[in-house]
Amino acid sequence: MEPLIQLRNLEKTFDTGGNKFFVLRRVTLDIQPGEFVTFMGPSGAGKSTLLSIIGMLDSAWSGEYYFLDQPVHKLNVKKRNELHKANIGFVFQSYHLIDNLTVFENLDIPLSYKNVPSKERVSLVCDALDRFNIVGKKDLFPSQLSGGQQQLVGVARAVIQNPKLILADEPTGNLHSAQGEEIMKLFKRLNEAGTTIIQVTHSERNAAYGDRVIQLKDGWIVSETTATAHAG
């Protein structure tokens, strides 16, 4: 099978008064469709930066990046935006919901940027509400939900258009452990149903939900291991 993601000698640098500071260094990595990969490592290791680059939210880097058969390093900003909007769903630590929009409206946001007819949008949002068991919450505002429920909406919004890839940056970082576990089980189910997932986490427990752990340090990939199977 062709990899979903191929990174070849990816590098990102900052200029600090004439000195080059490497945020990412010679990162070469393949990710296959259907994998559940975890990036780990100390703060400042480059994990979130790498996730941003894979998500095409950061374009200041060098090297080669193929997403499916597309050479991302050769695409202009507009094409990159189209590519990530069509294929990638993002889940953020702080949810990124809009507080003056209802749950229903928040779920509709990604669809409003595509040429999806409004009838179809309503049915996609209703499907997501059903699938994630939040029909009863559709008219509530984010501030009326618990953190776990807000992140559930965050995940529902990320997957509303059935992306091939989910990128999650510390998705349980703001949650109590029980709520965090619910979100991780949800990722596991989405992965079993075929969605590729890459997460950044500090938690060994969360890493155990995936099948591969990539350790970063000072911008380098320093090790790669198979995740230890978890009890749940």
């Binding site: 941003s52 939210l57 950061d58 990124h96 809009i98 507080d99 003056n100 409206e105 505002f141």
Partner: protein, 234 residues
């Protein structure tokens, strides 16, 4: 019913009661308040005094348990959910402490968001987004993503999003709460400039330095207005 047509907001006897485990909590009691077009008002008070509840009611995110609320002459205390949503999305611009930008949308797309709900045509959307970003000094960053901006810049983008639909009033809930003092100050100066150019602003803050940027401050305590002060220099 307010007669003077320069009154934008009028609250009469507004109460908000929450029921939890058979305990009644009076978050707001008997609030009377009038805000005129073009005013800059701040709501101050300690945590739990009802500031955010009041802002939620003013912003049509919540409805009062009792009392009346007129927005631009229209009674809005007892609207259906869908009427409330329609008026809220058209007439009120929101600015939050945590910016509320979406990380995988560009600056341009984040600002465009309120317009996508109104069926505004593409050309008009583009022009309005551009104009709103110019007003906050962020027009040069429209292709960037939020994570590529500083906190102060992100809040400027959030202000542009609040402005883009030409709302009747801007509601700002602790807009400097996640910013350092330099960026906080810059966002407050931006709000003051918008006010000088005619915007009506209602801001919640517990930071006394910033409350002074407004021309009127309502002090809340235990769900009641206990004092009102006017800034001489505003």
């Amino acid at each position: 019913m307010p007669e003077a047509n320069d009154t934008l907001i009028k609250l009469e006897g507004v109460k908000k009661v929450f029921y939890t485990d058979e305990v009644e909590t009076h978050a707001l009691s008997e609030i009377h308040l009038e805000i005129k077009k073009g005013q800059y008002i701040s709501i101050a008070g300690p945590s739990g005094c009802g500031k955010s509840t009041l802002l939620s009611i003013l912003g049509l995110l919540d409805s009062p348990s009792a009392g009346s609320y007129w927005l631009n002459g229209q009674p809005v205390a007892n609207l259906t959910l869908s009427e409330r949503t329609r008026i809220r999305n058209r007439e009120i611009g929101f600015i939050f402490q945590a910016f509320n930008l979406i990380g995988d949308l560009t600056v341009y797309e984040n600002v465009e968001l309120p317009l996508t709900y109104r069926g505004t045509g593409a050309a008009e959307r583009k022009q309005k987004v551009q104009h709103a970003l110019e007003r906050v000094g962020m027009a040069h960053r429209l292709r960037h993503y939020p994570s590529q901006l500083s906190g102060g810049q992100q809040q400027r983008v959030a202000v542009a999003r609040a402005l883009v639909g030409d709302p009747l009033i801007l509601m700002a809930d602790e807009p400097t709460g996640n910013l350092d003092s330099k960026n906080g100050e810059a966002v407050m100066e931006l709000l003051r400039d918008l006010h000088r150019n005619g915007a009506t602003i209602c801001m919640v803050t517990h930071d006394q330095r910033y409350a002074n940027f407004a021309e009127r401050t309502i002090h809340l305590f235990d769900g009641r207005v206990v004092e009102e002060t006017q800034e001489a220099h505003a």
